[in-house]
């Protein structure tokens, strides 16, 4: 394998939180050291990549991705998902288990890991199902799934409704020191709802989900995590009230973490106006005050990670009356571009943003990805934080096109992606 030297790049290293101009060496697919700007000398026969001042960060680690495969290949396959991922600088992704079949068998965990490697583009970190079939009832074989390589446990897009069952799941997970990831929404309050409660949903005549459905479940589960001592993570948190509870729990020293997704800090409920089903998400897009609360929680460190919450759907799943359309949007390609809006508007520094998209999710999932440390796999993302482009549904890498950011102008674009030192996206990538 050819050695690489990235020259004239701005290195963002989440390990040290530094942002320095310099160069990065890659040997045998692994990171082999950083130099300050102006350093001379290079390994023999190394390929020189001139970054022209662009940013070089670890490849992004996306901790919440739904893939259509297995079971819904018409929406997205692992191969098409991987193409979308690398176009967004993502080289490691955690796959939700609510596929068909659900990832509740050790063999399926191994299959997903293997299929990720086959793409040569990304590493897939499989979530194991928390309950068999992700149906919220019988506990899945958490220990055996973990032995097979499951990084954490969740039922994906549904919360465990039953309080006692959730308690038992957390207690058992504590015993094997496994992380539990919960979809934070009280299922009975949310049932039948398609939009966040408020003036807009009232005008549109849509069945509503109160924002408090999130806080109610988070409050319950924080208490259960405290009872059991388990590590609990809330996915795609979207309300100020929910985040305030998580902030308090962290202050009390509980092992509570959370992530959010770009739609919840870059869009609000107005995006569903005129019944735009591409903006129908779960949890639903919220009021502006909740969006601002998500930004504040990113700034103060309450939110540990930003995930794409990529949810692929076919056009036929979306070209329906709003209530009948499927909830969810693609997010891999736009993850970094939308995330950079937080840097441009001053909510986060660039190293902070990259940490939320690399080291933090990697650590939560026990992965050694998301770093520029010597010896780490050379998973890299080269991007221009200023380059502007317009998101266009129908023109996105990968199979699924249901982006809630359709038509939006983004500032910040991935120029190239490398997986284990191999150029997998951008320019002349194979």
């Amino acid at each position: 394998m050819t050695d690489l030297v990235f020259e004239n790049v701005r290195l963002i290293d989440p390990e040290t939180g530094t942002d320095t101009s310099g160069r990065l060496l890659v040997r045998e697919g692994r990171i082999a050291g950083q130099d300050k700007a102006g350093a001379e000398g290079k390994p023999e026969n190394a390929e020189i990549i001139d970054g022209k001042g662009a940013v070089l960060s670890p490849g992004l680690v996306d901790m919440r991705v739904a893939i259509g495969e297995p079971g819904f290949e018409y929406r997205e396959t692992i191969a098409s998902c991987a193409r979308a991922a690398v176009s967004g600088g993502v080289t490691t992704l955690a796959a939700l288990p609510n596929s068909k079949p659900a990832i509740d068998e050790p063999a399926l965990v191994r299959l997903l890991r293997g299929r990720g490697e086959e793409t040569g583009l990304v590493s897939i970190l499989p979530y194991g199902a928390l309950t068999k079939g992700c149906n919220g009832e019988e506990m899945a074989e958490l220990g055996m799934l973990r032995e097979a390589g499951a990084v954490a446990f969740t039922d994906g897009i549904h919360a465990i409704a039953d309080t006692k069952r959730m308690r038992q799941l957390l207690a058992y997970a504590k015993g094997i020191d496994a992380l539990v990831v919960q979809h934070p929404e009280d299922p009975s309050l949310a049932k039948g709802g398609t939009a966040t409660a408020g003036a807009l949903a009232t005008r549109m005549g849509l069945a509503q989900i109160p924002a408090a459905a999130e806080a109610i479940l988070i409050a319950r589960d924080i208490r259960l995590a405290e009872m059991t001592g388990a590590r609990l993570h809330f996915g795609h948190v979207s309300t100020g009230e929910g985040l305030a509870l998580i902030r308090q729990a962290k202050a009390r020293g509980l092992s509570i973490t959370c992530d959010t997704a770009p739609p919840y800090f870059a869009l609000n409920e107005d995006a569903i106006g005129a019944f735009r089903t591409y903006a129908k998400l779960s949890p639903p897009l919220r009021a502006e005050e909740d969006r601002l609360a998500v930004c504040a929680a990113l700034a103060d460190g309450t939110i540990d990670a930003i995930a794409s919450d990529h949810a692929p759907w076919d056009a036929d799943d979306k070209r329906l009356p709003f209530a009948q359309a499927s909830a969810g949007g693609t997010g891999l390609t736009t993850l970094l571009g939308v995330g950079l809006s937080l840097v441009h508007e001053g909510t986060l520094t660039l190293p902070q943003l990259i940490t939320l998209m690399t080291r933090n999710p990697a650590q939560l999932l026990g992965s050694d990805a998301g770093t520029l440390r010597d010896g780490a796999s050379a998973d890299l993302c080269l991007f221009d934080p200023e380059a502007e482009w317009v998101v266009e549904a129908g023109n996105q890498p990968g199979r699924a096109q249901n982006t809630p950011f359709d038509g939006r102008s983004l500032r910040g674009r991935v120029l190239g992606t490398w997986k284990a030192g191999r150029h997998v996206y951008g320019g002349e990538a194979a």
Partner: protein, 313 residues
């Protein structure tokens, strides 16, 4: 959602429409009401035009009203009843849109159980779409016919106090009436239990919320009641029909709190003894039958105006 008449001349809702945009529909409808009574409606106004009534939800009354309106103006009117039992109605919706385009339909009247379904259809068909009721969203022709009825009796649509009572939260009729009446300069009171009149309804404009009939009906110019669906009891929103009538039914005692001669209205079909007492429904203050008559006139006006806007563009 603003500008519901945008581009292709649809009538998808009244939200965002101004008094200046609403009044021409009412004036034309008033004229058609007179011509219909004298059996002299212009049979050539829609000659050669095709109106298709597509009802994804049963409604004999509204469908018949649109059918009559089209026929009185000389249009070819086709009723398509679409099975509502299929699992994936939306697929039928867009497939049907393609079929309608092929048939060169001019005006498409749509009733659908899902909010926004006519708007979705309007994106895909060449015809002008008239929303004949979509989910909990809007029912613009019902609000127009209510307005015409009120105007005939009270001479104005501004400065009035209109109490809309009962299952307001689930009601497309209530939403369209709120948009229309507030645009015309009247005040709207929404009256019912909090399970049927959620607080967020107050965000719809110049409306006030009342959880007791006494304060809701006092000095009102118009008392409009809405049909209470049986399924509201099953969903735990109201304990029983008799309790609902006891606390929220419009009876003569409560009606006496409104202004003398206040109009009593109901979009039909009525549940006598649930949301409205029989004697009130049949009283001299009731204009419920006239609403039905105005319904035909309003739909004539809507079909005619949209058809002319199409021709002009």
């Amino acid at each position: 959602m603003a500008d519901p008449l945008a581009r292709k001349h649809h009538l998808l809702g009244l939200e965002g429409m101004s008094a200046e945009e609403i009044t021409p529909f009412l004036d034309l409808a008033a004229n058609y009401a007179l011509l219909s009574r004298s059996r002299t409606a212009p049979r050539d106004a829609l000659r050669g035009r095709t109106v298709i009534n597509m009802f994804f939800e049963d409604s004999t009354r509204t469908r018949t009203s649109f059918e009559l309106a089209g026929k009185r103006l000389g249009a070819d009117v086709i009723n398509m009843t679409v099975a509502t039992s299929s699992v994936n109605k939306g697929e039928t919706l867009l497939d049907t849109a393609a079929t309608l385009n092929a048939m060169r339909c001019d005006l498409l009247v749509v009733r659908h159980a899902q909010s926004g379904a006519p708007a979705l259809l309007a994106q895909k068909v060449e015809a002008s779409v008239v929303n004949a009721g979509d989910g909990m969203h809007e029912h613009p022709t019902q609000a127009l016919l209510d307005a015409l009825t009120i105007k005939r009796h009270l001479g104005t649509l501004s400065g009035l106090t209109v109490a809309i009572c009962g299952d307001v939260g689930h009601s497309r009729v209530a939403r369209s009436n709120i948009h229309l009446l507030t645009a015309m300069g009247s005040k709207v009171r929404l009256v019912g239990p909090p399970t049927l009149v959620p607080a967020a309804m107050a965000s719809l404009g110049a409306v006030s919320i009342h959880h007791d009939m006494e304060s809701g009906l006092r000095d009102a110019d118009v008392v409009m009641t809405l049909r209470l669906q049986r399924e509201r009891m099953g969903a735990g929103l109201v304990p029983s029909a008799r309790e609902f009538f006891r606390f929220y039914g419009v009876d003569s005692r409560r009606l006496a709190l409104a202004k003398p001669g206040a109009l009593v209205m109901h979009p039909g079909p009525m549940n006598r003894g649930v949301e409205i007492a029989s004697d009130v429904a049949d009283s001299v203050q009731s204009v419920i039958q006239e609403q039905v008559e105005m319904g035909v006139a309003v739909r004539m006006a809507v079909l005619d105006r949209l058809s002319r806007m199409r021709t002009a563009s």
